[in-house]
Symmetry: C2
Subunit: 251 residues, 2 copies
DNA sequence: TTAATAGTGTCTATGAGACAGTATCAA
DNA sequence: TTGATACTGTCTCATAGACACTATTAA
């Protein structure tokens, strides 16, 4: 069956639509969902179905899939749907990562995917609370990148997502979205260190974070056996902070 | 409601080529092609066809159009085709800008466009040398943004492209791609000032550019009636330079 | 010499990085 | 008091910004 949209397009000029065929690319949305826990950057992966005719059966892949033109009003809401946003509370961060498209990336035909980068605290979107989450699991990013074996070009997309986070961590507050609120400055510092892959000076880190004005105090959090640290929340969770300079070891 | 497409995808029984069996979004590529001349940032626009059934007839739009799965091997080459890359020499810069997709942006149906940002010197892709160029024309960005009236959501995409260039001009050598080689440092400085919309200190600018090591001397260029400036070319046109800090007026 | 533009020297304040110090809790 | 972690003070140094200066051409 040919859709109304396609018929309309055909009725137009040759320039509006390739004349030879109606072939449209497959269109999907995939999400690189990252978190930090157990001292490591982690990514949410699902397993491809084993059914006949499915590409990359049984392989791990980024959560995502075809755009459903009857359900999704736009790309972002499609991404949220893929992530089951109802399970993600509070400070979910979602930004567009880029798009990958070509004749070769999917054996079923020319396909293009719109990739999104999601940052979320560990508690959110945990495997096991229904929907996609039930089949999803967190994996250490370093292991996934080392072993490879993801479906499609998802390894490349994952690499781009990690690189985006890493580079933005140099001058934005993005890593704060990887923690559940309230969090402490030492926790945030450790998160930055995991993301950046190098140690960060404590004093400089504190002044940097506090002078950026994106945190509000949320009362002391009790520790185990030491001075209780101050807890913080994001002042405006919708808008991350930008620092005037990048982190950089003297040089 | 769940569509056939979604059911197929979930059940894993999708045919090898789901061309016409369920609704796929329209898929296009659009290019925000920018240049700087006449002391202003300029954008390349085309005019929408007046044919019956065409959306936004006669309106100005970004160059672009549907992906042709029989011709384009991937998104970038599709973008290059839309720009008629053969007319663009040397230092064409092309980067992905983002994607815009939704049910409402095209009256013909759910559509998604992959937008690219192209930076090119004035000489390249001039209106009048065949193909798209024949119908294309340069327009001052400030006027276009003020008057509006572009087809589809192209004004939003243009805004994003300009914003991308502006923000990257703070810490990269991207504006160098807006000039024909060889160019002089004063020319480059004026280009930065046009892009950034504010004056830049000469001395700081020079040390910044030269210490970034992305330029190579190309002999003196004759001026009119004054000291001849040194001409420069890009050392590696494929890879723009990143500065360690952003430009910023004291504070 | 003058006008005009190209290019350089120099001073200063900012603020990040380094690191040693102090504060506050439990046991 | 000790240990552990949270937090602060201070010194130094690179460098961006500001701006005055010199250089090189044509007329």
């Amino acid at each position: 069956m040919v859709t109304k949209a396609a018929k309309r397009a055909k009725a137009g000029t040759g320039r509006a639509r390739p004349t030879a065929s109606f072939a449209l690319p497959l269109a999907s949305v995939d999400v690189v969902a990252l978190s930090v826990f157990e001292q490591a950057l982690q990514v949410l992966l699902v397993r491809r179905p084993n059914a006949r005719g499915e590409p990359f059966p049984g392989r791990q892949a980024l959560p995502g899939g075809f755009i459903d033109v009857a359900v999704d009003v736009d790309l972002v809401s499609c991404a949220r749907r893929k992530l089951h946003d109802k399970t993600a509370r509070g400070s979910l961060y979602l930004e567009q990562l880029g798009s990958w498209g070509g004749a070769a990336r999917d054996p079923r035909g020319w396909s293009a995917t719109h990739a999104y980068l999601a940052l979320l605290p560990k508690d959110d979107a945990l495997p096991g609370n229904g929907g996609v989450g039930a089949e999803a699991e967190w994996r250490r990013v370093d292991e996934v990148l080392r072993k490879g074996g993801l479906a499609f070009d998802h390894l490349e997309i994952l690499t781009a997502g990690v690189e985006r986070l890493r580079s933005k961590a140099e001058y934005t507050s993005l890593p704060a979205y990887l923690l559940a609120e309230p969090f402490t400055l030492p926790q945030l510092q450790r998160t930055y260190e995991v993301v950046l892959g190098r140690p960060v000076d404590k004093s400089g880190f504190r002044t940097r974070m506090l002078s950026a004005q994106f945190l509000v105090e949320a009362g002391y959090v009790e520790g185990d056996s030491n001075r209780p640290p101050m807890g913080y929340r994001l002042r405006e969770p919708e808008t991350p902070a930008f620092f005037p300079r990048t982190f950089s070891p003297r040089g």
